[in-house]
């Protein structure tokens, strides 16, 4: 047990877990029926389940974002990719008459294309990730709106709705989806060379290149994966409301995904990454949002809380901050 507690993973996970425990404790004390679970029609209902269900898009985005950030990059376009994949799904279901079994692969294919595009710009054209993904963030929503003609497309389609509202083993199907993607990431990290290459690229790109790691392909891979994650998240969000709302789906979520990853212990500079931490980060953000909502505070307040949390977490991770705390009298060396 002590050996488990001393691993890096555990050390990284303890702050987010503590924060999550605090929020849960707060809810235990002040929110009635927070931990209550009821079974109705073979489905489990309850606040905690609801948090996991609502948090599914955030968790998926956070998992994709974790791999991108591990290579030292960032993907700002995930929200826009969500909009595109949602728009595709709604359009294909209402207009083409294709079966859902064909619609979903097409939508994920489009999301994969978007990810490949980002990976191409970052990996092969060596454009700074913020800017490269900014291009798709700006035009992506435009593309989605062009697809739907700026309208909100509603649909009635049982199989597609299942992705967002269905139940599997008594739990929301979204949880299963997140679990599958999480296991894929974990498997890739621990059991394949890809995980090693991703960490190497983020740690020291030049050294990795000299050690014959194809950093371009690694980047192409992580951005593509992030695109697919965003595609699934887009399908969930669209299926949940039975409509493709290109203006609002995934709005601000790219920032939540980055925040979840950073809270989870993956440094923005890249290197070692913690998929479990990112999941906890995403659940923490979702729990905060839900708590704020159930307390009757306007939902916009979450933006302020998120901002304060992100600054606090970054300060805790910043070496300069601890130096200034340890030796408050001395001025930092960089000050001229």
């Amino acid at each position: 047990m002590t050996r488990v507690l001393q691993t890096t993973t555990w050390r990284k996970l303890r702050w987010p877990l503590l924060a999550l425990a605090l929020v849960f404790a707060f809810n235990l004390a002040f929110t009635r029926h927070f931990f209550e679970l009821t079974v109705r029609d073979g489905r489990v209902y309850g606040s905690v389940i609801d948090i996991l269900n609502r948090g599914a898009p955030r968790m998926l985005l956070a998992l994709g974002m974790t791999l991108v950030i591990a290579t030292g990059g960032v993907d700002l376009s995930v929200g826009a990719v969500m909009a595109i994949s949602g728009a595709c799904a709604a359009l294909l279901v209402t207009k083409s008459g294709l079966p859902v079994a064909a619609v979903i692969p097409i939508c994920l294919g489009v999301a994969l294309l978007a990810g490949l595009w980002n990976g191409l710009l970052v990996g092969f054209f060596q454009i700074p990730p913020i800017v490269a993904t900014l291009i798709l963030m700006v035009s992506g929503r435009g593309i989605a709106q062009l697809l739907t003609d700026g309208q909100i497309i509603t649909f009635e389609n049982r199989p597609l709705e299942f992705i967002g509202r269905g139940a599997f083993l008594g739990l929301p199907f979204t949880i299963t989806l997140v679990l599958i993607v999480f296991l894929i990431v974990l498997f890739a990290q621990r059991r394949t060379a890809a995980g090693l290459f991703i960490e190497a690229t983020g740690d020291n790109e030049t050294a990795s290149r000299y050690s014959a790691v194809n950093t371009r392909m690694v980047k192409l891979l992580v951005y593509s994966f992030c695109g697919v994650c965003a595609g699934i998240a887009g399908l969930i969000a669209t299926a949940d409301i039975k409509a493709a709302d290109t203006n609002n789906v995934g709005l601000w979520l790219e920032l939540d995904a980055i925040l979840a990853t950073v809270i989870g212990g993956t440094p923005l500079q890249g290197g070692r990454f913690y998929p479990a931490g990112s999941l906890i980060g995403a659940i923490l953000i979702q729990t905060l949002t839900t708590t704020i909502l159930t307390r009757g505070v306007p939902v916009e307040f979450t933006l302020v809380v998120n901002a304060l949390v992100i600054i606090a977490v970054c300060l805790l991770q910043s070496e300069e901050f601890w130096k200034l705390i340890a030796r408050p009298k001395r001025k930092p060396a960089t000050q001229a």
Binding site: L134, I143, L146, N306, S318, A336
Partner: protein, 323 residues
């Protein structure tokens, strides 16, 4: 020497060419596109974007980035509206107050970025959340302002008998002139270029890196606040959702204007051209009438891509000649 200077100016020259070509083609295709009124509208309709882009140009020149500009515009616009309309503060007092708030906000972000060595991208992202959330907490809906019409009219500059430069446009142009002077003729401006070019050597040269970096973000905060004020002038209302997504348009305008995202190279005049290109695309889409307005975003994204690739090409050539 001349050639090297020219090479460095290629992005700017390319932008200028695109701008002139766009204007000429649109002028030939659409009746009365060449009229002075349309041109004045370019400036007045995009004064908010332009003013925010000016502050952002300094940040990008220094090698940083500021994602909070759009949210600060929203926050300042609703704060101004509440101060003037609900609290009854006279505009003479309210305007300096909100400008000071914006400047302090920027300076705070600059402090976090410099002294705690946090990535600018992350800090200003948090700033974006904070300003937007704070704006929404003040008030959720937009509210009209009635007391500003006199001020805007007073700042309009008449151009001939039937045309005038609206107050918002003249504020944009005046700020641009001041910013040009600051960037090219002051110590602060040169320090910004030096830090963007190479921060470690700027430190070794004994330049005031810390104060300059904090000042750059403070300046960007000030410009965003001013843009927020101009927004309230332009729409006669305060709106917490004002400027949503504007940070991206502003970054696009700066980059299209030939400022390198790696910092150290660029012109404020380029930012004006970038804003003009943006304005022209929007106006052309309006004139055409049958194109979906969503194309604006897609075209801006494509232009951004083209100019970034162009920058990349020039940089890689530069590296090759050096090594």
């Amino acid at each position: 020497m001349n050639l090297r200077l020219l090479k460095r100016n290629i992005p700017f020259l390319a932008t200028l060419t695109v701008c002139v070509l766009l204007y000429a083609i649109a002028g030939i295709r659409y009746e009365s596109f060449f009229s002075a009124r349309v041109f004045v509208n370019f400036l007045s309709d995009n004064a908010v974007l332009g003013i925010a882009a000016i502050g952002l140009t300094f940040v990008i020149l220094s090698g940083g980035i500021d994602l909070s500009v759009g949210s600060v515009i929203g926050f300042i616009s609703i704060t101004t509206a509440l101060l003037v309309e609900t609290r009854g503060v006279p505009p003479v007092l309210a305007l300096p107050t909100v400008l000071a708030i914006g400047t302090l906000f920027g300076a705070g972000m600059g402090t976090l970025i410099h002294f705690y060595a946090l990535p600018p991208f992350l800090v200003t992202l948090a700033g974006m959340f904070l300003a937007r959330g704070a704006g929404f907490m003040l008030k959720l809906e937009s509210m009209p302002i009635t007391k500003f019409s006199g001020i805007v009219d007073a700042m309009a500059i008449p151009l001939g008998s039937r045309l005038e430069l609206p107050g918002t446009a003249s504020m944009f142009l005046v700020l641009l002139l001041i910013a040009l002077a600051v960037a090219h003729f002051t110590r602060f401006g040169r320090n910004v270029y030096a830090i963007g070019g190479n921060e470690p050597s700027a430190i070794l040269m004994g330049l005031p890196v810390a104060s300059t970096k904090v000042l750059v973000y403070a300046l960007s905060g000030f410009c965003s606040a001013l843009a927020g004020v101009v927004y309230t002038f332009y729409t006669s209302s305060g709106n917490p959702t004002a400027g949503t997504g504007l940070e991206l348009e502003a970054i696009a305008a700066v980059v299209i204007g030939g400022t390198l995202l790696s910092g150290g190279v660029g012109f404020l005049a380029g930012t004006l051209v970038g804003v003009l290109i943006f304005a022209m695309i929007q106006t052309i889409i309006t004139f055409q009438g049958n194109i979906n307005s969503w194309w604006t975003k897609i075209i801006i994204g494509l232009l951004l891509l083209v100019f970034i690739l162009l920058q990349k090409l020039i940089q890689s050539k530069k590296l090759r000649t050096h090594s």
